[in-house]
Structure formats: C-alpha cells, structure tokens
Amino acid sequence: MADGQRTPLSIREGKPALGAGAPLPALRREELREHLPGVEPERQLTDWGRSERIEGLMDQTLVEFFYRYWFRAEVEGIENVPANGGGLLVSNHSGALPPDAAMIAKAVKEEHSHPRPVNITVEHFFKGYPGFSMLIPKIGCVAAHPANVQRLLFDEEQLVLVFPEGRKGTEKLYKDRYRLRRFGRGGFVEAAMRAKAPIVPICVVGAEEAAPVFAQMNLMKRLTGLLYFPITPTFPHLGLLGMLGYLPAKFKVRFLEPIRFEEEGMYEDKALVQTVANEVRARIQENLWDMVSRRKSVWFG
C-alpha cells in the first residue's frame, strides 16, 4: 500500500524530456515478484508469445533430426547449468542462420537432469521483419533487451541464452572462424549481477563449419532489408530453405563452470563489469582453442 513515501523525479530512465515525471513510490523489486501474473492453463502461448505446441513440433522434428543425426551433438559439463533459479548462458556465435542456439537449448532439454526451457535472445531485427516476427517468439526467442533479460532472469527465474558477440559473430567470415568478436558492452554481465544469476559460459564447436559464410553481399542486404545477406554453400542459390542447408559437421558443446555473483550492487561497478566480461570471453576463447585442437576431423569429431 502507498505509504506516501516518494522518491525524487530523477528515478526515470532515458531522456527526461520525454518522461513524464510524477514521482514513483520506492518499491523494491522483490516485492513486485510476487505480483507476476499467474499461468492460465487454457492458454497455448505464454506472455512472451512462446507456443509450447509449435516449439514442441519443431523440437521433435527439425531440431531432433539435426541434434541427433545430422550434427551428432556431443555435450559435456551439462551439470554446470543450474537446475533451478535464473541462469545466464553465454555462448560463442556463428553461422548465417545460427544453429548453435537451437542445439544448446536442445542439449539442456535432452541431457540435463532437470530439463528446462531456454529463452534465446535474438536481435530486435526479427521483431520487425515479416514472417520472422510471427515465428521467432513462438519457438522461445525474445528480443535482446536488457529489460527482457532482467525480467526472465530475476523475476521469472528462467534460463536465458545470450550471444554477446551478437551479429558480429554470425556475420563473420569462414576465415575468421572460432575467433571471438568483441563482447558487446558487457551488458550481459550487468544483467546477471542485477539478478544475482550465475553466468554459464558455453563453447560450441562445429557451427562454424556447418554454416560457413564465404562473403557478405551488402547490396543484397540493403535490397532485402535483412540483417545481412551471406553467401554460404547453399544460400542464396537454393532459396530461403538454403538457410537451413547445414553441412553435417560434428557438434561439440561444452558448458563451463558457472560464475556466481552473490554481492549486492556489484553491477554499479563498471570496471568490475568489464573485467568479468573479459574474463568470460577469455575462458570461452581458451576452451574453444582447446576443443578445436583436440578435434581430429571436422565431420567425425
């Protein structure tokens, strides 16, 4: 109930010129958690637009096929994924229509002792592109907005998969394979610290060879309005389905030791955030080199 306690107007975020500034009562976020909307069992979609039906259908057909028979995914360290509470999965990223996200989500579902849905963060681009906009949320993807990650991690205590490289990772060419790009601005670390959720670094080997990108066509990108327009072994000459024309590389997924944040207010220390982000990146890169160096064959592992 209101206690008449008021915080100054400066609480508003963003540009003050746009924000109407009636004072907000100070409310701790923990108190809000109990007011999350309940689940309506009659519904087929979640509030995020995720459809268990469509996701299940994809999972049992396409994802199952790729995971088991095409990529023959091999998983290690799955116990590093927390069985309950929020968890931020951080992975390297590659491939034109990246198969790594679906494989990580499938790995958690298949191998973990407590299978849980994984929320995959994607570019805002997908929400604005017809077709993708309809499909992407249905299969468990959410836009990579800090507020979305915060709500999923802290309020709903779910697993969130982020690719801090973003599109810099997926548009990189085959010659740059397994060389991590910059890890954004460390926003993912801040999100995990705010939610006090552990970060689980993940290394995926095989995705680079499954969907190699030979060139980027900037003119075509502009004409189609897509995020990028790559030349792969099967795209664009086999049409849009060519996006799914992955080569049968052997997939290896390694979940690394989680990094935990217990202290209050760590996210305010920008230097610490950057240090942790670099640490996560270094760990993933190190393990990637290790996994690639042990690999005898791209196709058979």
């Binding site: 107007l9 500034g21 009636a22 007011h35 909307p37 979609l45 509030d47 604005g128 309809m134």
Partner: protein
Amino acid sequence: MTDSRRILVTGLSTYWGGLLAKALERFPEIEAIIGVDNEEPTVELERTEYVKVGAQHALLRRVVEAAEIDTVVDTRLVVDSTTTSSSKAHENNVIGTMNILAACSGPDTPVRKVVFKSSTHYYGCEQDDPAFFDETMSRPHQPRTPIERDIVDAEASLGDFAETNPDAAVTILRFANVLGPDVQTSHVGLFSLPAIPMILGFDPRYQFVHEEDVVHALEHAVRNLLPGIYNVAADGVLALSEVAGLLGKPYAPVLPPWGTGIATSLLRRVGLHVPPEMQMQLRYGRGVDNRRYKAAGFRYGNTSRETVIALAEHMRLHPLMRGAGEPYRYEREVEEFLRWSPHVRSARTPDGSGLSRDQLAELRRALGELTGEEASALAEPPAPAPDPEPAPPPKPKPRKPAAPPPRPGAPVDHYDDLESEEVISLLGSLEPGDLRVLRDYERDNAGRSSVLGAIDSVLARSGDASGVAPGGTP
C-alpha cells in the same frame, strides 16, 4: 484511505467520467462529486452535479475554489484518434490538461490530489521495445503519431505540475487497450469485423483491460493515496492470433507488411479506419508490466483472456438484443426536478411504493415528539418541530438557519414499527436537522445499514456537509 471528500471529475460526458462519478456516488463519505464537461452526461447520475464548461476548461479554477475541491480526476484524455479530429484531440489533450492543471495549482489551492487517466500509447510500439514496459521506462523513440505526441505532452505537463506542487499527490494511470461490451474503441471496431485483419507476417502481442477494471482502477486511485505512475493492464499478454481464436473468428492477413500506410488509406475508402497508432500496434504489439499497481493494492477482475472472452460473448448476444435498452439522455430540467423538488419523495424508490398519507403524518408526529421531548428534557433552546406541511426542499446554498443540533434520540414506538423501505421513502421530505436526529437514533437502536446509508446520502445531497460525521457511516 485518504480524505478525498470533494471530488471534481473532468470529462463527465465521456464514458469513463460518467461511470467513475456513478461509482463514487456509492461512498457516503464522499461529500460532493462535481462533473465538468462541455457536453451533457451520458449516464444517469444520482447526486453528481454537472457543470457545463468550455472545451478548454478556462473557468475551472472558479469551480475548484468555490466548491473547495480536494481531488481532481481527469478522465477526458482522447487516446483513440478515430473519435475526433487531430486538432480537436490536441486541444483537448494538451491545452485542456494544461488548463485543468493550472486550475489546480497555486499557493492557496484546495486541491491535494490529481488523478490522471493516461494510456499505454505513451510508450508507443516500436521494433526495439522491451517485451514489458514498466513505469520507469520512457519510450525509445520520439512519438510518431499525433495522438502519442499529445499523450506524451500531457504527461509532461503533469510532471511539471508535480514538481511545482509538491503538496499535491499526482497519480497517472496508463491504461492498456480497453475492451468491453459498452465501450466503443477502434479495437472493438476491429474485433467486430467478420475476420480479424492482420499485417502479413506479424502476430503482435496485445494486452487488454476490461472496462469495469478501468472504473475500479480510477476509483482505487481516488480512494487511496498513490502518488506516481502506474500501468493498468490485465494479466496476460495475448498474441493477436490468440485473440482471434478466442473471438471465434478467422484472421485475415490482408495488410501488406510493406506499404501498410497505403493499404490502410485504401481500407478507409471502404469504411475501415485503421488509425496510425493502431497500425504500429498491429505490427509490433505491446506488453506492459502491471505489477506496480497490483502492489499498490489493486486487484483486477479480469485477465486479458477473460476480457476478450467477455467481449466475444457480448458480440454473439448483441445482434439479438438490439434496441433492448433505451440510451440515457440528460435533460437538465428533469435532473433538477429529481434533485431539488419538494415533491420528489425519494430518488431511489419508485413512486407509489411509499407510505400512505396517514403513516406519513404518524412518522412526522413521532419525529416531532422526539425532537420536542428531547429539547425540553435537556433544557436546551426548543427545537422547532417539523412543519406538518411538506418541508421546503433542502437547498445546497441557503441553509436552514435554525436546524436542531444532533443529539441521541429516545425510543419512539411509531418509528420502530416502520420498515426500512418505508423510512427511506420518507427521508427526502425531512429537514437536515431531523435527519441527523433520526440517524443518531437509528444508529443507537435498530442500526439498519440501509437506513443509515440512505440518511447519509440524503444529507450529502442536500449539501449539508456538517451533517456527515466521519464515523457516522456503518
């Protein structure tokens, strides 16, 4: 609970203003409800006083000061650009809000609380929106449509008001898309089509709020002290395809993803108006975080899903019930007759079901005895016994000079024989002083809440503010 007792509702003739005033009439501790608007009210009101003002609310300050308004509820924001022209909407939303706030500010203003009905259009709909807007977030881009610009401007002037008037509590309620059987919005229009039009390749997320929840939310803000901004949207965010399913209608992706503006202007030719803010919503959708208002004690009656189902049920039934209910029309002379005429015995009970002439006389005599006996017993100045003739109407301004002071009543046999309905039907013809005596007596003896409530409301209606003691209600 706050001490909101004298309330001014702007936009009384809008759907929300009328319903809110009607809802507030239920509370006897609210002494005065004054509704202003430039058009006549569209719902039947019992004790709300309607004052006609110009569109810009320029003279509102005099009303506020004269009636010592402590709470102003502003319900008149236009959030649907199909309802009026954009220049009229701007006049109403920006200039009107400015003038209303000007009427509430100043060093000696009686206003202690301002409740403002806003809209989640404040946040807009864009590609890079978060999935759930919370109240601390501002929109990621400048507003693109005139109506959104107006809402942002109006809220900005409330922010200024809150800063310059730290004593006044400012509550802004941002409502999601409202659905319900009685309200007409462009989305209700969209959903009553035989198929739900969609933009090809998009399935936006929608959050709704039931029309009853809107009124309850406004009422909650009036009856509690809740400074700040709150989103009001029911639990559950639905995809538009899900909405179509609940309505039992097919969805038709008839709008092209590119050149949507051209397509909608063509649709307008054939009579379907898709306003620009709705186009953005049909593309990107919007969800808001509704937890803060829930944490402030508000409970929703419906989820988004239940809201859509209620609308669907109404839509199936509506064609069968057409013309069943006559719409209410405000007629000043009739309203004034019902409120102030001495011949109106009670606004609540229909004519003919009251007491016979003999019973009426008996009650009068009983009350006369009551006040007379008491006066002599306590050796106070004798209170005038009520006239045997029907008492003159209790007017709000000229109070009766010698109303008897309230005192505990003595048991009167005749009075106790009367049923509560019979007592209530008499109240309209009694003087405020007698009413107070009667109320005290009733409270000490039978304590019938219906009778006590009726007495209080008659007292409040007669404008005799001193008659309503804070603890006097059950």
